[in-house]
């Protein structure tokens, strides 16, 4: 079931305290429910996501908008591309 949306929406995913690749899997599963053009904020604590989520986005056609890296928390913002 897709998230109910009217126009573009922004969803926040809490992937804190999960170790890679679980934040990637949660991102993947959430994106599957979104529409092209929606944005997703992913909050994480495993610094591995700084490499893994952008790599996942590149191979699946989504766009990284920003990566905010703090000491204990990373927030990645991405825009959903065309899901196929």
């Amino acid at each position: 079931m897709k998230f109910p949306v009217s126009g573009m929406s922004e969803i926040t995913l809490d992937a804190r305290n999960l170790l890679c690749p679980l934040p990637v899997i949660r991102t993947q599963n959430t994106v599957e429910e979104l529409q092209q053009g929606d944005t997703l904020l992913v909050k994480c604590t495993d610094h591995g996501v700084i490499n893994d989520i952008p790599a996942w986005c590149r191979i699946n056609g989504h766009q990284i908008l920003s990566i905010d890296e703090q000491e204990y928390e990373i927030v990645i913002k991405l825009r959903v591309g065309k899901n196929s």
Binding site: N17, L19, C20, P21, L22, V24, I25, Q28, D46, H47, G48, N51, D52, A55, W56, R58, I59, N60, Y72
Partner: protein, 353 residues
């Protein structure tokens, strides 16, 4: 790149992508024949990739990549990462074909993954399945006599194509139907990696992951020993995801059969264990710098004092007359106690799990 055999409908294959060289080569062999390939990668909870590096501070600055994602990007294919931690428990707990040298159920694991990939393939309307298996490459799951077991028990049958050793195996459906040209497939066998490395060079693959004794903690003797200890202490073979993550962290000591102590070895592990204090009774030193420790089990007051003395031994107060430690319950209630650190010779070797 399109093979003449594929002038009609473009066929689609799903590939088991581990992040290693063999599955990478298998995908490229298929791409050379004009097959559309997408990768699938399963997260079992025991995958070596990521966890320890994420936890230990000293490893955090090392270059890190998820090899399956890296391989997919090099090949230009999509990768679907599937969380199978719940369903995988039955494979680890009760493997039909038993364990390898440690608690690695490699044959059951391969059958499980091929079966799961088959289900994904059917659901997503793909035509067949490929793996990077090579006859004789692995002692349990990749032998001439065990590979047919995987084919049969997974339900894949002749929809499972192993491009790197296909010439040594019976023809599969994709070959019979002309979706792929058998003549362009390979006949690799054995543990010699030279043919794979030569093929990698031909395809221009560089910086691929080097084989490092498997991608799963269950092949590791020390890890398997900790898992066996967990099952013995609980009196049953069960686990949750937190259990198996915790087995990768810290020193594990079991002073008594009914409880064990997990003691952080460095700052990264201390920070990680601190995040679990709502799930476990915990002990940390107050009067001296020291590690956070978690208690798994049901210790009584005497046990707690022993645990506190043990934790004090691993703090900077190990030579002090007394060390103050904080004992915190799962609900956050805590009390401080003063304990004499254990001496080195008061810690029997058999306490170490």
């Amino acid at each position: 790149m399109t093979n003449s055999l594929n002038k009609g409908k473009k066929r689609k294959a799903v590939a088991l992508v581990s992040g290693g060289l063999d599955s990478m080569l298998a995908v490229r062999v298929m791409q050379e024949q004009g097959i559309h390939v997408e990768g699938i990668n399963f997260y079992t909870g025991f995958c070596i990739e990521g966890h320890t590096q994420a936890i230990r501070k000293k490893d955090r600055d090392k270059p890190k990549r998820n090899n399956a994602l890296w391989v997919a990007e090099q090949l230009g294919i999509k990768l679907h990462i599937i969380d199978v931690t719940e369903d995988y428990k039955s494979v680890v707990i009760n493997p039909k074909h038993g364990y390898g040298a440690n608690l690695n159920p490699c044959l059951d694991c391969k059958g499980f993954m091929v079966h799961e990939a088959m289900e994904w393939m059917t659901k997503h309307d793909f035509d067949f399945l490929i793996t990077g298996e090579v006859i004789g490459q692995r002692p349990m799951s990749q032998r001439k006599d065990t590979m047919p077991i995987v084919t049969k028990e997974s339900g894949a049958g002749d929809l499972l194509l192993r491009p790197l050793c296909a010439k040594l195996l019976p023809e599969t459906l994709p070959e019979r139907e002309g979706w792929v040209d058998r003549e362009q497939l390979l006949g690799f066998s054995g543990r010699n990696r030279t043919p794979q490395m030569a093929l990698a060079e031909k395809y221009g693959f560089k910086n691929y992951a080097q084989p490092a004794g498997g991608c799963c903690f269950l092949t590791d003797a020390s890890y398997s020993s900790k898992l066996a200890d967990l099952w013995k202490a609980r009196g049953e073979k069960t686990y949750e995801i937190d259990d198996i993550v915790m087995l990768k962290v810290g020193r594990h000591l079991r002073p008594r059969p009914h409880f064990k102590i997990i003691i952080a070895r460095e700052e990264g592990e201390t920070n990680f264990l601190r995040g679990y204090r709502k799930n476990y009774l915990s002990i940390s030193t107050v009067s001296h710098p020291g590690p956070v420790s978690l208690i798994d089990g049901e210790p009584d007051d005497d046990d707690l004092e022993l645990a506190a003395r043990l934790v004090a031994r691993f703090s900077r107060g190990r030579e002090a007359e007394l060390v103050t430690v904080e004992v915190m319950q799962k609900n956050g209630e805590s009390r401080n106690i003063d304990v004499k650190p254990l001496l080195a010779d008061e810690i029997p070797g058999e306490w170490y799990v």
